[in-house]
C-alpha cells in the first residue's frame, strides 16, 4: 500500500546542486574550489537520492509541500517510483559526468559559468523528476532550457550561437504549448497533480481532450525530439562533449520523455487513452522517427552527429513503448530511460576521449584505434552492441519488453519496427567497431596510450553499467524493480512479476 511521508530529501536533492551552483559563482575562480564543490554536490545528491530508494521500493512516497504558488497549485515534490527512476539515472550519471567534465574541460574559458550552469541543470532535472504537479515540473522544465543555453553556446562561435538560438526557439515554443495545455487542464480539472493514474475526467468532450493531448504531448515532444520537432538536437551538438553527453543524452531529452510519460500515465491515464486512440497516431509518428532518424544517423560521418541522430531514434523508443499502453511495453518505456542513457553517455564519453587524445572527430578516421586505445574502444563496443540489441546488454532488455508489449497490444508491426531498427543500428555502429579493430592505423606516430584516468574511469563505469543493466535487470536492488512498481501504479496492477 502507498503511504505518504513528509520528508526534506525531495527538496534537498535539487537544492544541493543549486547551492553548488551558487558556490561556484562565488568561489569558482579557484579551480580547486570549483572541483571540490562540483564533486561534493554530485556525491551528496547521489547519496540523497539513493537513500530514498529502499523506502520507495517498499511503497513509501516521500512528499514535500512548500505551499501554494497559485490558487490550487502547490509548489510540491513527491517521490514516486517513476520520478525516482529518472532521478536515480540522472544523479548517478551526474557523478560520472562531473569527473569526466573536470578532466575534459581543463583549460577551457569561462569555466565558472560552465560548471555553475552544469550544476543548475542537474538541479532542475532532479526537481523535474520529483515534481508533484505539472506547474512545479514546468517551472524546472523551463529553467532547464535556460540553464542549458549558456552551455550550448559555450564556445561563443557564430555556429554555437546559431545553434543556441535554434535550441531556444524550439524549446521555448514547446514550453508555450505546454503552458497553454496546462491552463486548459487546470480549467477542466482544477488541478495539475501528477499523483494519480489519470487526472482527466473521461466525460470531457473528445474535441477538448484532443486539443489538450496535442498541446501537452506537443510541448514535451520538442525536448523528446520526436520528429518533426527534432531539428534542434543535432545542431546543439556544438556544445562541449560533457554537455552533449549529460544534457542531450540524459537530462534535457529525458526530461521531455519523462514529461510524455507523465502526461500519458498520470494526466490522461492508460484506460482513457486506450478508449481515445490518440496514442495509436503518436505511435506511428514515433515509429517513423525511429526509422528515419536511424537512416539519417547512417549518413553522418561526424561521430557526435551520428550519436545525436541515434539519440533521436532511441528517444522515440520510449514514446512508442508508452503509446502501446500495455504493461510490458510501459516497462520498456521506463527502463529505456536508463538503458539508453548509460549506453549513449558511454559513446559520448568515448567520442570526447578520442577527440582529446587524437583530435579525430569522424567515423572515417577511427581506423586502428582499437590497438591504440583498447579499453576505450572496448567500452565503445559494448555500448554499440547494446544499441544493436545484443542479449545480455541493456538495449536488449528494452527491445525484448517493447516487442512483447507490442504483441500484447496486438500490433506485431512494431515488432518488425524493432527488428528493422536493430538492423539499422547494426549498420551504423558496426563500421565503428570494424574500423577500430580490423583496419590498420594510418598514423604510425600514435602510440598505444589510453586517455587519462579521469576520462577513462567514467567511460568504463558507464560501460560496466550497460552490462549490469543487461544481465542483472531482475536483481532486487536494481532500478528495474522501480520501473515495475511505476508500471503497476500506472496500470493499477498489484505487485507481480509480468
Amino acid at each position: 500500500m502507498v503511504t505518504e511521508l513528509f520528508d526534506l530529501r525531495p527538496v534537498l536533492a535539487p537544492l544541493v546542486s543549486a547551492l553548488c551552483a551558487l558556490g561556484i559563482v562565488l568561489l569558482g575562480h579557484h579551480e580547486r574550489w570549483r572541483i571540490a564543490l562540483s564533486l561534493a554536490a554530485a556525491v551528496v545528491k547521489f547519496a540523497l537520492v539513493w537513500s530514498m530508494l529502499p523506502a520507495t521500493l517498499s511503497g513509501t512516497v516521500f512528499v514535500f509541500n512548500a505551499g501554494e504558488i497559485l490558487p490550487g497549485l502547490p509548489f510540491a515534490f513527491r517521490v514516486d517510483a517513476l520520478g525516482m527512476f529518472f532521478a536515480l539515472v540522472s544523479s548517478t550519471l551526474w557523478v560520472l559526468t562531473t569527473i569526466y567534465a573536470i578532466a575534459y574541460m581543463r583549460g577551457s574559458h569561462a569555466l565558472r559559468r560552465f560548471f555553475g550552469f552544469f550544476a543548475l541543470c542537474i538541479s532542475t532535472t532532479v526537481a523535474i523528476a520529483f515534481a508533484e504537479n505539472l506547474l512545479t515540473l514546468f517551472i524546472f522544465y523551463e529553467l532547464l532550457t535556460l540553464c542549458t543555453y549558456p552551455l550550448v553556446i559555450h564556445s561563443g562561435t557564430l555556429k554555437a550561437r546559431r545553434a543556441g538560438r535554434r535550441y531556444l526557439a524550439y524549446t521555448l515554443s514547446g514550453g508555450a504549448a505546454l503552458l497553454a495545455g496546462m491552463a486548459l487542464l487546470y480549467h477542466l480539472t482544477g488541478s495539475l497533480s501528477l499523483s494519480q493514474p489519470g487526472l482527466v475526467d473521461p466525460a470531457t468532450p473528445p474535441k477538448t481532450l484532443l486539443i489538450l493531448f496535442v498541446l501537452l504531448i506537443g510541448g514535451f515532444a520538442v525536448k523528446a525530439a520526436v520528429m518533426p520537432l527534432h531539428a534542434w538536437l543535432p545542431s546543439a551538438m556544438v556544445a562541449p562533449t560533457p554537455v552533449s553527453a549529460l544534457l542531450h543524452a540524459v537530462a534535457v531529452v529525458k526530461a521531455g520523455s519523462f514529461g510524455l510519460l507523465r502526461v500519458i500515465y498520470n494526466v490522461f491515464g492508460v484506460n482513457l487513452l486506450a478508449s481515445l486512440g490518440y496514442t495509436a497516431v503518436l505511435a506511428v509518428i514515433a515509429a517513423l522517427t525511429i526509422i528515419v532518424a536511424s537512416l539519417m544517423a547512417l549518413r553522418q560521418d561526424v561521430i557526435k552527429l551520428r550519436l545525436a541522430w541515434s539519440t533521436i531514434s532511441q528517444l522515440s523508443y520510449i514514446v512508442l513503448a508508452a503509446c502501446l499502453l500495455t504493461p510490458l511495453a510501459a516497462l520498456a518505456a521506463v527502463i529505456h530511460i536508463a538503458n539508453q542513457a548509460f549506453a549513449k553517455i558511454t559513446l559520448f564519453f568515448v567520442a570526447g576521449a578520442i577527440e582529446k587524445r587524437t583530435g579525430k572527430t569522424r567515423v572515417s578516421e577511427l581506423d586502428g584505434l582499437g590497438q591504440i586505445m583498447p579499453w576505450t574502444m572496448g567500452a565503445c563496443t559494448i555500448a554499440c552492441l547494446s544499441f544493436m540489441g545484443v542479449p545480455l546488454l541493456a538495449g536488449f532488455i528494452t527491445k525484448w519488453y517493447l516487442s512483447a508489449g507490442a504483441l500484447a497490444a496486438g500490433m506485431p508491426i512494431y515488432v518488425a519496427v524493432m527488428m528493422l531498427s536493430a538492423l539499422l543500428n547494426a549498420t551504423y555502429w558496426l563500421p565503428i567497431i570494424y574500423r577500430a579493430y580490423f583496419k590498420p592505423c594510418p598514423d604510425p606516430s600514435l602510440s598505444r596510450e589510453e586517455p587519462e584516468i579521469l576520462l577513462l574511469g567514467p567511460i568504463l563505469a558507464c560501460a560496466a553499467y550497460v552490462v549490469l543493466l543487461g544481465i542483472g535487470a531482475q536483481a532486487p536492488a536494481m532500478p528495474f524493480a522501480l520501473a515495475e512498481s511505476a508500471v503497476n501504479f500506472a496500470f493499477g496492477l498489484e505487485l507481480s512479476r509480468p
Binding site: P71, L135, P150, I153, L168, S173, A180, L184, H187
Partner: protein
C-alpha cells in the same frame, strides 16, 4: 474610527508637503535633499503599509474629510487598489529615490536636483491621493498632480529629445485630462453629485443615456491615454525612454498603472449605474489588449536602444492588463490586478538596472553594450532576472498575471486568446534573449565597455533586490491573489448587487 484611519490623508499630504518643501529647503544641497526625500518616502511607505494591514484585517479603510459623511462630504477610501498600488507606489518610489542618488548627478543639471526630488515626492502623493479618491473631483485633482509632476520629470533630462518628448507627453496628457474633466462635468450636470457611488445610484434615475454614454466614452478614452493602451500609447516610448532612468522607472512602473486605476473606477461607477451594458467596453478592452500585446512586443523587438525596448514592453504589458480586465471573469480580473502590481515591480527593476548600464558606459544601443556583463556583473544579472520576469517564465512575478489571464480566457469561452498570451510571452523572450546574449555572450565592441565600472552600491542594492523579487515573486502568486480577491469580486459584482 480607529486612529490608523488618520494615516490615510497623511499618506497624501506627507509626500506632497515634503516635495513642495524640498526645493525651498535644499536648493543645491544634493546630499541633504536626497536624504530628505528618502526619509519622506520611507515614512509614506510606513503609513501605507499600516493602512494595508488595517485594510487586510477589516476591509475598506474610510476617512471622511472634516468629519462630513459621504455623499455630502469628501471621503477618502483605501481599498484593494490602495493595498496593491499604494504599497507598490510607496515601496518602488523609495527604491527609485535610493537609486537616484547616483543617477541624478549625471542625468540632470545640478540646479535641478532638488526639483527632481520634490517632483518625485509630489508624484507619489498624487498617486496615493488618486488611489484613495472616492469622488470625481478629487480624482481629477490628484490625477493632475501626478500627471503634471510626471511631465516635469521627463523634461528634467538633458538633451533635446527629452524636451520634445516631454512636450508631446504634456500635450497628449492635457488632452486626456480635458476629456476626463468634460466627463466629470457631464456627470455632475446629470446627477448633481461628485461622489462616485452616489453618481452610480443617481445616474439610473437621471434618464439621460446620451450624456452618460458621452461621459463614459470621454472617461474611457482619457484613461486609456494615461494607461498608454494601444493605439493611444504613441506618447509613451519617447517619454519613457528619454527621461532620466529613475523617472522612466517611475513612469513605466507606476504612473501608467494609474490610468488603469481610473478605468477600473469608471467601470465600477457605470456598472453600478446599470443604465447600459458594459459588454462593448469589455470587448473594446479585449481587442485593444490583444493588439497591444502583439504590436508592443513586435515593436520592442525591432528597437536597437535598450530603454526603448523596455518602453515598448510597457505597451505589451498594459495590453495584458487591459485584456484581463476586458475578459471580466474572476481569474482574468484577478490576473490583471496582480499584473499591475507585479509589472510595476519588474519594470522598475528593468529601467533601473538598464539605467545603471547606460549610466556607467554612456552607451544606450544594445549592440554597443556587448560583453558588459564582465565589467558589470551585478547590474547585468539584475537586468537578466527582470527580463526573464517580464517575459513571464514561471516562477517569476510576470507569470502570475499571464497564467490567470490565460485561465480567464478559458472561463470566458475564448480559448484562442491563450495563443495571444503565449505569443506575447514568446516575442518578449525573443528580444529579452537578444539583450542577454549581447551582455553575456558577445565580445565587447566599444572601448567604454572595457573601462566601465560597476554601479555604486546605492544602485546595485535596489536593483538586485528588485531582480530577485521579480525572479521568484510568482511563488507568492496565491497570496497576492487572495489579497485582491475582494477587489476583483467588487469590480465584477458592481451593479449586480442591487
Amino acid at each position: 474610527m480607529s486612529a490608523a484611519v488618520h494615516l490615510l490623508p497623511l499618506s497624501v499630504v506627507l509626500p506632497i508637503t515634503a516635495g513642495v518643501l524640498a526645493p525651498a529647503l535644499f536648493h543645491r544641497r544634493h546630499n541633504a535633499c536626497s536624504w530628505w526625500a528618502i526619509t519622506a518616502a520611507a515614512l509614506t511607505l510606513a503609513t501605507t503599509l499600516t493602512l494595508v494591514s488595517e485594510a487586510l484585517d477589516g476591509g475598506l479603510v474610510r476617512y471622511p474629510v472634516g468629519g462630513w459623511p459621504a455623499p455630502y462630504g469628501i471621503e477618502l477610501v483605501f481599498d484593494g487598489l490602495g493595498i496593491l498600488m499604494g504599497s507598490a507606489a510607496g515601496l518602488l518610489t523609495l527604491l527609485i529615490l535610493i537609486a537616484s542618488r547616483a543617477f541624478v548627478q549625471t542625468e540632470a543639471t545640478p540646479q535641478r536636483h532638488s526639483l527632481f526630488h520634490g517632483l518625485v515626492l509630489i508624484n507619489l502623493g498624487g498617486m496615493n491621493g488618486f488611489l484613495a479618491a472616492s469622488d470625481l473631483f478629487n480624482l481629477f485633482v490628484f490625477m493632475e498632480v501626478f500627471s503634471i509632476s510626471a511631465y516635469a520629470l521627463v523634461a528634467l533630462a538633458r538633451g533635446p529629445v527629452a524636451a520634445l518628448a516631454a512636450l508631446k507627453y504634456l500635450i497628449v496628457g492635457a488632452v486626456s485630462s480635458m476629456l476626463v474633466l468634460l466627463a466629470i462635468a457631464l456627470l455632475h450636470a446629470q446627477t448633481g453629485s461628485l461622489n462616485m457611488s452616489d453618481i452610480g445610484d443617481r445616474l439610473a434615475a437621471a434618464q439621460a443615456p446620451a450624456a452618460a454614454g458621452l461621459a463614459l466614452g470621454c472617461l474611457v478614452v482619457g484613461f486609456l491615454v494615461k494607461a498608454a493602451v494601444f493605439p493611444l500609447h504613441f506618447w509613451l516610448p519617447d517619454a519613457h525612454a528619454s527621461a532620466p532612468s529613475p523617472v522612466s522607472a517611475l513612469l513605466s512602473g507606476l504612473v501608467v498603472k494609474m490610468g488603469i486605476v481610473g478605468l477600473i473606477r469608471t467601470r465600477m461607477l457605470f456598472a453600478e449605474a446599470d443604465i447600459f451594458s458594459l459588454v462593448a467596453l469589455d470587448l473594446l478592452l479585449v481587442w485593444l489588449g490583444v493588439a497591444a500585446i502583439v504590436i508592443g512586443a513586435v515593436l520592442a523587438m525591432i528597437q536597437r536602444e535598450l530603454k526603448l525596448m523596455l518602453a515598448y514592453s510597457t505597451v505589451t504589458n498594459m495590453g495584458y492588463i487591459a485584456l484581463g480586465l476586458g475578459l471580466a471573469t474572476p481569474a482574468a480580473v484577478g490576473g490583471a490586478l496582480a499584473h499591475m502590481g507585479f509589472h510595476a515591480l519588474i519594470k522598475t527593476g528593468l529601467f533601473l538596472s538598464a539605467g545603471a548600464l547606460v549610466l556607467s558606459t554612456g552607451l544606450s544601443r544594445i549592440d554597443d553594450l556587448r560583453g558588459l556583463a564582465q565589467r558589470m556583473p551585478v547590474s547585468s544579472a539584475a537586468l537578466t532576472l527582470a527580463l526573464l520576469a517580464v517575459a513571464g517564465l514561471p516562477p517569476t512575478a510576470g507569470f502570475v498575471g499571464k497564467w490567470q489571464i490565460a485561465l480567464g480566457a478559458l472561463e470566458a469561452g475564448q480559448p484562442w486568446l491563450i495563443a495571444v498570451v503565449m505569443s506575447g510571452a514568446l516575442l518578449t523572450l525573443a528580444w529579452a534573449i537578444r539583450i542577454i546574449n549581447s551582455l553575456y555572450f558577445l565580445p565587447p565592441a566599444r572601448g567604454q565597455v572595457l573601462t566601465a565600472d560597476e554601479a555604486p552600491l546605492s544602485i546595485r542594492a535596489p536593483i538586485l533586490m528588485l531582480g530577485l523579487v521579480a525572479m521568484v515573486g510568482g511563488l507568492a502568486g496565491a497570496m497576492v491573489l487572495e489579497w485582491i480577491e475582494p477587489l476583483s469580486f467588487r469590480i465584477l459584482e458592481a451593479g449586480h448587487g442591487h
